[in-house]
């Protein structure tokens, strides 16, 4: 080999070595275990396995972020409402600084109607829970006043309980294919509500409720948390798993776009395992001040792709944190996007592989952090994981 050849070979070798080193570094970052490096590259940490886990929520209380696990005890208690009520076990889980572990910081016995799903949000000193019951009422909105203690402690007695149901104009628009019907006792299937989601809004009305009808209409209300919501802000067909957000005075409804005639009951893993997770396009509808709704396809416009599940966290500013579960059913992938312009542009902050598609993804944002809760239903167990992601 002559001199030029040697030099070229050396250069090639150095380049290869550098590339290898860089690759190794990237891999070490991407797959670093929690607590070993920057928190933005952590992995979900399992903190709970419970046979009676009903649901998992993420809340921001003050400057702190918590995951809230709600476990059934089926210790039935008398209730003034026309639904079986039980004492449930609520635990608040707080991540350590780098999100590598979660600790139960408070535990409360809370009496609620037996619910298929529980969505929780905090606004100031008011904690609200949207309880998806169905029969005799579709859902209840319960609120508690939190004492000024940290961590928050949920009082045994609710501050208010209000049923959540479709008003007649919306109910009249719900049409269920007879083939997609199921057996009911005290609430017609056309009145059932699904996919309960609750957001807290920093200004104006306290909370945003988003749910699905049985025929995949998305309905969203504003509420002060104390009374039954009325006059929905959104009522959109073929819109699954709606998430209602209000920021900068605008109302947004994120949802997964379904084909027509979508059997919500039999696609809701809390009720049926017939279909399993299905990838659908992620959309966002924006309600402008004139009451006009415009929709955008986030899956297409921002290359988000089809999603199994998603959640949006907002602090009321222009900043949004969008967490989506995509990939495949066998190898689902969690991606966390951040947008600083109300969803006009998104940037990926985190990508991590999940062990399966969660039945609940819950997020809350505080400061520069987003806390993500993931609840899984496995053969013989329900598990909860948490992930802390920095948006900076």
């Amino acid at each position: 080999m002559h001199r030029h050849g040697v030099r070229a070979a050396m250069a090639k070798l150095l380049c290869s070595t550098a590339a290898l080193a860089l690759g190794s570094y990237m891999l070490s970052i991407l797959f670093r275990a929690p607590g070993e490096g920057p928190m933005t590259f952590g992995r979900p940490v399992q903190f709970l396995e419970s046979k009676t886990l009903a649901d998992l929520a993420a809340i921001a209380a003050g400057d702190s972020l918590y995951l809230v696990s709600v476990e059934n005890t089926f210790e039935m208690v008398p209730s003034p409402i026309d639904a079986p009520a039980q004492r449930t076990n609520w635990r608040l889980w707080k991540p350590n600084n780098d999100g590598s572990s979660f600790q139960s910081v408070s535990q409360s016995g809370v009496v609620i109607p037996t619910a298929k799903a529980v969505a929780v949000a905090v606004h100031g000193n008011l904690m609200a829970a949207l309880l998806q019951v169905n029969e005799p009422q579709p859902a209840y909105l319960m609120t508690w006043e939190l004492a000024a203690v940290t961590p928050p402690e949920i009082p045994a007695a609710a501050f208010s309980v209000a049923p959540v149901r479709l008003d007649e104009p919306e109910a009249a628009q719900v049409h269920i294919n007879i083939a997609h019907d199921w057996s009911t006792r005290r609430l017609p299937s056309s009145r059932w509500l699904f996919s309960s989601n609750l957001s807290s809004f920093p200004r104006g009305d306290n909370f945003g409720i988003a749910m699905n009808t049985a025929d995949a209409h998305a309905i969203a209300w504003l509420t002060d948390g104390k009374s039954s919501p009325a006059r929905p802000r959104f009522f959109i067909p073929d819109a699954l798993d709606p998430v209602f957000k209000r920021a900068e005075g605008k109302d947004f409804l994120f949802y997964r776009k379904t084909p027509a005639d979508w059997p919500v009951f039999f696609h809701d893993i809390r009720y049926s395992r017939q279909y399993g997770p299905v990838l659908l396009p992620l959309m966002v509808a924006e309600l402008n001040s004139e009451g006009k709704i415009t929709s955008r396809d986030l899956s297409k416009d921002h290359e988000v792709g089809g999603v199994f599940a998603f959640e949006v966290a907002s602090d009321g500013s222009k900043r949004l944190a969008l967490s989506v579960v995509g990939g495949t059913k066998e190898q689902p992938l969690l991606r966390v996007y951040v947008s600083h312009d109300l969803g006009r542009a998104f940037r990926v902050r985190q990508t991590t592989r999940l062990r399966k598609v969660p039945y609940r993804i819950a997020t809350a944002m505080a400061g520069a952090d987003v806390l993500i809760g993931l609840a899984y239903l496995s053969e013989g167990a329900r598990e909860a994981e948490g992930l802390l992601v920095s948006l900076e």
């Binding site: 419970s50 039935m76 199921w182």
Partner: protein, 841 residues
């Protein structure tokens, strides 16, 4: 006297009687002198007699006088001892031999036999002198000379293998001789060393002649020394073979290899004699040989074994299977025939030969005396004594596979005579291990899984499906997956299954059922290049079996061989954990299965996935598990319906499915509303939720269980009439009804009222309504039309409806909730409506 002896004698006489010389000087006055005469017959060469010979080659010697003689003559030989002299009667005469003159006058013939080789040509000198008598003696003694030639033939001892040092001569080449194998085109037989030594005296210039004893028939033949190892088309030495004595080396001699060309008819009936050309056909030495033809017969497997043709004995040869711990594999019949010559007395050896290692060590076959399993194996090689008492039909030996072959026909049975080079006969064997690698049942319906079960009928999920336990599939998944086998063996030679999924067949005798088949992929180890054909079949204690097929394995594999299935039950059966024993002469590989035997070709299943067309027609494993268990042993639509419906009516305190009708609804537990969810719910972490099932689930259990056996049905949703109606002049709308019973399957505290309820309309053969949730019915109905239409439920309604929950309507607005009694009069509203959701009629 033999002709040759006569000729020799005549020659001597001629010489002796030649015109006698006259004594010119003493013709009148003197007595004429007498002269001795001695003439040795031509060729003045005599062979040295061998000890084994009773009588050696003899040569005439004529003695006489030219005139009448009254004295005596004396015959001497120098050197003494070279010859032995015999009179005409064969009586030995000692030398010096004195003979009376009177016997000499007319001439006397004696015979000489070589006793030892002459020291040189014509160096055995005979001298004949006269003495006494009445005449003067002249020219006495007369003399003549001859040569005693000794030829020597060595037949060498048995040599185990070609090459290496020459073996020494046998001790007794006459009485014992040698055994040689009959050479065949296979060239199994070896060759023995034969040495023609240089005749003595070494100065003998004549030809030494080697002749086979049966020259012309060629029972033995010779080859050049370079051709010890037999091969086709090798040049055979001429017979007789003449060799110039001068060309024969000393002391080595002329070495030749001899092999058997035709079987002896008697022991030692062939061999070689050695002589010289000067005395044709005179035997100077001999070696005796028996050419033995030993034959091995190998028989086919099966209850009536037949002899494998000679041309197939080595290829394809005989396949056998490695014996298993239970000694299930049958032994291969081998017959060692009586040899030729039949009176052969000696030992035969039957060896199991490793062709690859070229060794008898570590034999892949074991040889036994008995056909049946057990007993001690023969040592290898196995010695078989042969004598004239050997059975005419031969002796049986039974071969059993001991070690798996590494290649096809890498094992041979080799038969040989213990003390003969090479072998007599061979038969090739391959010791196999047979495996079923994959099975595909060609049944009638595929089975889907919502949950991988671990109890009930035998099932072995694939490793990927076995974890976590009770793995759930949402949506349901087909197992085996499309294109995959039902049963698969673990890799290599592990006979254990990797997985085994159940299959569905229609009972024997059912109309419209396709001919049952199973497709098998088979392996016959060693997976070595080449083809093997074997008869394969399967059988089971349950009676299910395959037709036997002749399967050709290429390179050890036979893929996708379709076997017709026989012996399926004539009734519904749940053939749980049946073992199919796959036979390669005996059970060689056992595969375990569950076969669900249904009454008739299945109709479409109902899973509530309407609008998905054939995607809905998916039978869950549980449907076959339940229905075949429930209708076990019965046949025919009516009996099957009766057996299955018997699991629902009367309503069960604990239903056979373990499902509980609206379990724990009082504490807010919502039941599964579809079969998949109900089946998966048994693993719900919350025990309160486990097995809670709605009427939809019970309805589909019934309908699918019936459809699996070919019974048509329709799914009927009961609900209050839509809109408003007038009764007693008041407008009402109905939202639900109060039930006549809260005693559902597994739950005596079912909800008291309903807004909707699912039942089935079943055809067997008339259409009747069945309510599997409450065990109510059957009641007559009518044939369902299409989905979306209604069906007559009038006769069913009284079984379910106590009263109806309605609202009084005023001005189009519900103003009060009221309970209306159900009127038995169909014309008086309200009455429930039965809407057809689905049918497979």
């Amino acid at each position: 006297m033999s002709k040759s002896k006569k000729l020799n004698g005549a020659a001597a006489d001629a010489a002796l009687n030649a015109k006698q010389d006259t004594c010119k000087g003493c013709s009148k006055t003197k007595v004429p002198p007498v002269s001795p005469k001695i003439v040795i017959a031509d060729p003045k060469t005599v062979l040295v007699k061998k000890p084994y010979q009773k009588k050696g080659h003899r040569l005439a010697v004529r003695l006489g006088t030219d005139k009448k003689f009254t004295g005596t003559g004396t015959l001497t030989c120098t050197p003494a001892g070279d010859i032995t002299v015999f009179d005409s009667k064969g009586k030995p005469q000692a030398l010096p031999l004195t003979i009376a003159g009177a016997r000499l006058s007319s001439g006397l013939t004696l015979y000489v036999e070589g006793a030892r080789p002459s020291t040189d040509i014509n160096q055995t000198k005979l001298s004949f002198s006269l003495a006494g008598g009445d005449k003067p003696i002249i020219n006495s003694p007369a003399a003549d000379a001859l040569t005693c030639v000794e030829v020597h033939l060595d037949l060498c001892r048995y040599k185990a293998a070609p090459g290496g040092a020459d073996p020494p001569p046998v001790a007794d080449k006459i009485s014992t001789g040698r055994n040689l194998h009959l050479q065949t085109s296979n060239t199994y037989a070896g060759r023995a060393l034969l040495i023609v030594h240089k005749a003595r005296p070494h100065s003998f210039k004549g030809q030494v002649v080697l002749t086979s004893v049966t020259s012309g028939r060629g029972k033995v033949r010779t080859f050049a020394y370079s051709l010890e190892a037999p091969a086709p088309a090798q040049p055979v030495e001429s017979d007789p073979l003449s060799i110039a004595n001068g060309a024969i080396l000393h002391p080595g001699g002329l070495k030749l290899w001899v092999e058997g060309a035709h079987a002896s008819s008697k022991v030692l009936d062939t061999g070689f004699i050695l002589g010289i050309a000067d005395v044709p056909k005179k035997e100077g030495d001999r070696a005796n040989i028996t050419v033995v033809k030993a034959t091995l017969d190998v028989y086919t497997p099966g209850p009536k074994p037949s002899r494998i043709a000679e041309g197939s004995k080595m290829n394809p040869g005989r396949s056998t299977h490695v014996q298993d711990a239970g000694n299930q594999h049958k032994r291969a019949k081998v017959l060692v025939r009586r040899v030729e010559p039949a009176n052969f007395s000696g030992n035969l050896e039957l060896a199991v030969w490793d062709k690859t290692a070229s060794s008898a060590a570590n034999p892949r076959l074991k040889l036994f005396a008995a056909k049946t399993p057990g007993g001690a194996a023969h040592t290898n090689p196995h010695t078989i004594s042969h004598s004239s008492a050997y059975p005419a039909a031969g002796k049986e030996v039974w071969a059993e596979g001991a070690v798996l072959s590494g290649a096809l026909r890498d094992t041979e049975l080799r038969l040989r005579v213990s003390d003969a080079e090479g072998g007599a006969d061979r038969a090739a064997f391959t010791v196999h291990r047979f495996f079923v690698s994959e099975l595909r049942f060609k049944g009638t319906k595929e089975i889907y899984y919502a949950r991988v079960p671990d109890s009930g009928s035998y099932i072995l999920p694939a490793p990927a499906d076995a974890a976590p336990p009770h793995k759930h599939f949402s949506p349901v998944e087909l197992r085996p997956a499309a294109g995959a086998p039902y049963w698969k063996k673990k890799p290599a030679m592990d006979p254990d299954p990797e997985f085994s999924w159940p299959a569905v067949y229609v009972r024997r005798g059912a109309a419209g059922a396709p001919a049952p088949e199973v497709e098998a992929s088979l392996e016959l180890h060693p997976l070595a290049p080449g083809t093997v054909t074997a008869k394969i079949k399967a059988q089971s204690a349950a009676g299910v079996k395959t037709v036997e097929k002749s399967v050709t394995f290429t390179d050890g594999k036979a893929a996708a061989v379709t076997f017709p299935l026989k012996g399926l039950p004539t009734t519904v059966k749940r053939l749980d954990n049946i073992e199919l024993k796959w036979l390669f002469d005996a059970p060689a590989h056992v595969t375990k299965h569950t076969l669900f035997i249904v009454d008739a070709p299945a109709r479409a299943a109902n899973n509530g996935l309407l609008g998905l067309g054939s995607a809905d027609d998916k039978y869950l494993w549980e449907i076959f598990e339940w229905s075949c268990r429930w209708a076990n042993g019965v046949a025919g639509r009516k009996k099957v319906l009766k057996a299955i419906w018997g699991r629902f009516k009367p309503v069960k305190a604990a239903h056979a499915t373990k499902l509980v009708y609206w379990k724990n609804h009082g504490i807010g537990i919502g039941p599964a509303q579809d079969l998949v969810t109900a089946i998966q719910s048994q693993d719900d972490p919350n025990p309160l939720q486990q097995n809670a099932a709605s009427c939809i689930v019970f309805d589909r259990v019934l309908m699918n269980c019936l459809a699996a056996h070919g019974i048509a049905s329709a799914e009927i949703k009961l609900h209050p009439p839509a809109g408003t109606f007038t009764r007693g002049g008041v407008s009402y709308g109905c939202v639900g009804w109060k039930a006549t019973s809260t005693n559902g399957q597994g739950n005596t505290a079912a909800p008291p009222g309903w807004e909707s309820h699912w039942i089935a309309d079943v055809k067997a053969p008339a259409w009747r309504l069945y309510d599997p949730s409450y065990g109510a019915g059957p009641v007559n109905s009518n044939a369902p039309s299409a989905a979306g239409a209604t069906v007559d439920i009038k006769k069913y309604e009284p079984l379910a409806v106590a009263s109806l929950d309605c609202q009084k309507i005023v001005g189009g607005v519900a103003v009060a909730a009221v309970t209306l009694s159900r009127s038995p009069n169909p014309g008086v509203p309200p009455h429930l409506v039965g809407t057809i959701l689905w049918t497979n009629k």
